[in-house]
Assembly symmetry: C2
Homo-oligomer: 448 residues x 2
C-alpha cells in the first residue's frame, strides 16, 4: 500500500493509469492473492484507486486529502456576510480577539479523549436506531439534575435535546415567530439570532443593554406600541457586552412580561462560566413564561453540537414535532459522549479551573485595554467578553479594518446591532486577547 | 463509591440525607482525604450526591438512570401524530415491519466500533472549534469522489454536509418554499417531508408513482395549472413503494422540468442499497437543475446524523448561510467518525453483504406475502420496502389496527399520502418482515 501511495505521490503512477491485475501483482511480488485484493480494496476505500468492474484498478483523478482552493485567506468586510460566509473559514489572521470561542487548548481535551474512549466501549448496536424524539433520556435526566442544582425545577421530560443551542434557538424562532411579527431582542446582541429572525420575517425591536441592566422604560414603550409575543434575551454573561442582569431587573422584566403578555427565551449558553451563583430569569419564573436554552458544546467542545431547551411540559410537546420534521432526532452518539464526559469527576474541576483562568484573563485584559486607551462598557470579571471602545478611534469598523491590516481579527459593534448600525464599541474575547501584539497595535493608534 | 451507591439503592441512605464529611469519612475508613474527596466528587458527577457549598454532601432526590414514566407503551392512531410523537418511543410492539430502519444487527457494528476507536486516537483539540461552514473538508472530498464513481461530477466545494439527510431536506424546503407555494411531491411519499412542507406553508401537489415510473401526464397537467418551482422526489428505491424511476422517465421528467422551469430535489438516501447500478436524475442532469441529497446515517448508523447536499456551486453558496443561521456548523466529531468508517476497507464489503441480505429478504417476503393473500405493487428486489395490499382487508388502516392488537406495527397507506387519505396499500420493511408471526397474522385474515 505504501509503495503504491508513494508512486502516486511521486507521479510515477499518473492519474488514470491502470494497476497490474491482482493476480499479476501477487505473482510479481510473491504475496498471496488475498493480501493484494485487501490492499487494493483499502486503497480504493482511501480514494487512491478506482475499481472499475470487469476492467481493473486505476489511479484516481484527484486525491481526497487535497481540497486546496479554500485554504487561501479570503477578503472580507465587517458585515453580516462575514458571520455567514467567512467566520468558519481560515481568515489568515494571527490573533482573533473577535471570535466567540474559547481557545482550543483551554478546553479539557484529556476529558474529551477519555469520553471518546468510553464511547468506544459502549455497545455499538445502541446507535443502530434514531433514539428517542427528545434525545438520550439519561442525558436529559442529568441536565434536569443540573437545572435543579441551579434552582430551576424541571423533570427530564421537560428537557429537549438539540443539535447545539443554535438548533434550540432555531426551533424557538420557528415556533414563536410568524412573518411580520415584532420580536424583542438584546441591543447589542447575538447576530446569528438576528439573521435567523429576519429570515423568518420578524421585525426586530432592540432593547438597549446597559452596564447594569436593561432599558426597561424603552422596553415598556415598545411593548405598548408593538405588543411583541416574545423576547429573545441572554441574561447572563451576555455577548457582546459581558453583562448580566441584576436580580431586580429580572424580576421587573418578568412583571412586564406578565403585564404585556410576552414569553421570554433565555439563552444561557455561558451558564457554566458564571462564578457569581447569580439567579436568573428561569429561577424566578420556574419555566412558566421562560423558555430556557443551554449548551454543552461551549464547555466540552464546539464540535459536539449538543444543546437543549427546558420549558413548560405543554410547550415541549409542541416543540418535539417541530424538531422531528425539521431534522428527525439529535445524535445519540454525541449525546452519549456528552453524558460520558459529564459523568467524569474531572469535568467539574475543569470548569472551576476554566472560570479561574477566565477571571484572571478578565483582570489582565481590562487593565491592558485601559492602558492602551480604551474605555470599558462594564467589568464582568467572568465569561468570555469585554465590550470596549477606543478613545482615539471613534469608529469601531474603522478600528477593525486597521486591525485586519495588522492580521488581528476584531468584531466591531455593527456586527451586534439588530439594525447593523455603526457603534463605537468592539467585542474582545479575553481568552484571545492575551498577546502583546494586540496592545502594541491598540497603543499605536493613540500616536496619530 | 460502590458502598455508597449500594446504600442508596437499598435505601439505607435516603434522598436528602447527609453524608459524613470528607474528613470524618477518611478517619472512619482509614483512607486518605484525597481518596474520599475524589470519590464524593465522582458521585456528584454521576448524580448520586449533591454538593452543597459550606454544608456538605447529600443524597440526591432522584437518580439519573431512572427516567421511567416514558417506558410504558403509549396508545396511538395511524395518523401523522404517530410519526411526529410516537414513532421514536417504545411502542410495546413485538414486530415492526412498518418502520423505515434496518434492524440494528444488520448494521456493521464492528465497523462502527473500529471507527469509534479510531476517533479516540484523533487529536482531540481539532474538535475545539466549529469546523468549516460546509463541514469536514476531507469527508466532502470523499463524498465528491463517491459521486464521481456514481457518474455525477462534483467538486468537494459543491458538497454541503448536514445533520442527517433530514436537515438537508429542511434547508431545501426553507430555501425553495414560501408560504402558499405549490410544490410537487411523490404520491405516496415521505411523510416527514410533507409535514415539513406544510409547516412552511406549501401546497402539496402529489404526482402519482406507478410500479414502472411516474404519472407524467398528471405532472404536466399540474405543472401547467400551478407552475410549481420545485419537485421533491425520491427516484431510487422509493419509500414506501420500493420503486425506482426508469432512465427514460428520468429523461422525460428533466425535459418537463426544463419546459415548466422547476427544480428537482432528489432524495437519494438509499443509494448504497441499489444493486442495479442504475443511473438517476443527478446523472443525467449533472447538478444543473437537480439538487442531490444523500445520507451516511442509513448505512453506518442512524445515530450518526450525517447527510449531505450536492448542488450547483451558486446554489451551495446560498444554502451555506441558511445552514449557519439555523444551526451553525454540523458536527466535526460525527463527520470525522463517518470518514474514518468510510476509509475502512471493510465498509464496501459490508454494503455488498447488506445488499445480498436485503435481496434474499425481498425474495422471501414477496413470496410469503403473496402466499398470505397480499398483492404486490412492484417487486424491487432491493432496498428496504415492499408496498402491498391484502385481498381480504381492503382498508389498510383497519389492517394496521388489527396488526397492532397482535403486537405487530404496520404503517398503512394513509401515512404516506400527501392528503392523508386512506388507500389499500401497506408498507413492509423486508428486513423486519422475516418472522413467522407476521404471516400467521396475515393468513388468519383470509379465514373470515
Amino acid at each position: 500500500m505504501e509503495g503504491i501511495v508513494l508512486a502516486i505521490q511521486e507521479q510515477r503512477l499518473r492519474p488514470g493509469s491502470k494497476l497490474p491485475s491482482i493476480r499479476k501483482f501477487a505473482q510479481n511480488h510473491r504475496v498471496s492473492l488475498f493480501t493484494v485484493a485487501e490492499a487494493y480494496d483499502r486503497l480504493v476505500a482511501r480514494g487512491c484507486l478506482n475499481a472499475v468492474p470487469n476492467a481493473g484498478f486505476y489511479v484516481r483523478g484527484h486525491v481526497t486529502e487535497d481540497v486546496s482552493g479554500e485554504q487561501a485567506a479570503p477578503e472580507f468586510d465587517f458585515d453580516a456576510h462575514l458571520l455567514l460566509h467567512k467566520v468558519f473559514q481560515p481568515l489568515g489572521m494571527e490573533l482573533r480577539p473577535g471570535i466567540g470561542l474559547l481557545p482550543e487548548d483551554w478546553l479539557d481535551s484529556e476529558g474529551l479523549l477519555r469520553g471518546l474512549r468510553s464511547l468506544a466501549r459502549e455497545e455499538p448496536t445502541q446507535f443502530g436506531n434514531y433514539g428517542q424524539s427528545k434525545g438520550n433520556p439519561r442525558l436529559r435526566g442529568k441536565l434536569a439534575d443540573r437545572l435543579a442544582d441551579a434552582g430551576v425545577a424541571a423533570t427530564p421530560e421537560q428537557v429537549l435535546l438539540t443539535s447545539g443551542a443554535s438548533q434550540a434557538l432555531d426551533l424557538a424562532v420557528r415556533y414563536f415567530v410568524q412573518r411580520g411579527d415584532p420580536v424583542f431582542v438584546d441591543e447589542p446582541g447575538y447576530t446569528h439570532l438576528f439573521l435567523n429572525l429576519r429570515l423568518q420575517g420578524a421585525r426586530l425591536l432592540g432593547v438597549p443593554r446597559s452596564a447594569d441592566g436593561l432599558d426597561l422604560e424603552r422596553l415598556e414603550e415598545l411593548a405598548r406600541e408593538h405588543r411583541p409575543k416574545v423576547f429573545f434575551i441572554q441574561a447572563r454573561l451576555q455577548s457582546p457586552t459581558g453583562t448580566s442582569l441584576p436580580l431586580a431587573t429580572c424580576h421587573r422584566l418578568l412583571q412586564l412580561a406578565e403585564k404585556y403578555d410576552f414569553l421570554i427565551v433565555e439563552n444561557d449558553i455561558y451558564a457554566d462560566l458564571d462564578t457569581s451563583g447569580q439567579l436568573l430569569l428561569a429561577n424566578l419564573d420556574q419555566l412558566a413564561r421562560v423558555i430556557y436554552i443551554g449548551s454543552l458544546s461551549k464547555i466540552i467542545a464546539p464540535a459536539l453540537r449538543v444543546g437543549f431547551i427546558a420549558a413548560h411540559p405543554e410547550l415541549i410537546k409542541e416543540l418535539v414535532p417541530l424538531k422531528i420534521v425539521s431534522g428527525l432526532t439529535s445524535s445519540e452518539l454525541t449525546e452519549t459522549l456528552a453524558l460520558d464526559i459529564l459523568l467524569q469527576g474531572r469535568q467539574r474541576k475543569h470548569v472551576r479551573q476554566l472560570r479561574e483562568r477566565l477571571s484572571e484573563a478578565h483582570e489582565t485584559v481590562a487593565r491592558r485595554l485601559e492602558a492602551a486607551g480604551l474605555e470599558l462598557f462594564h467589568e464582568p470579571r467572568a465569561g468570555l467578553f469585554l465590550w470596549a471602545r477606543h478613545r482615539a478611534v471613534a469608529d469601531s469598523t474603522q478600528l477593525a479594518k486597521q486591525a485586519k491590516e495588522a492580521k488581528i481579527l476584531l468584531f466591531p459593534g455593527q456586527l451586534f446591532m439588530p439594525d447593523g448600525r455603526n457603534v463605537p464599541w468592539t467585542r474582545f474575547n479575553v481568552a484571545h486577547s492575551l498577546d502583546e501584539q494586540l496592545y502594541t497595535f491598540l497603543a499605536r493608534l493613540n500616536e496619530r
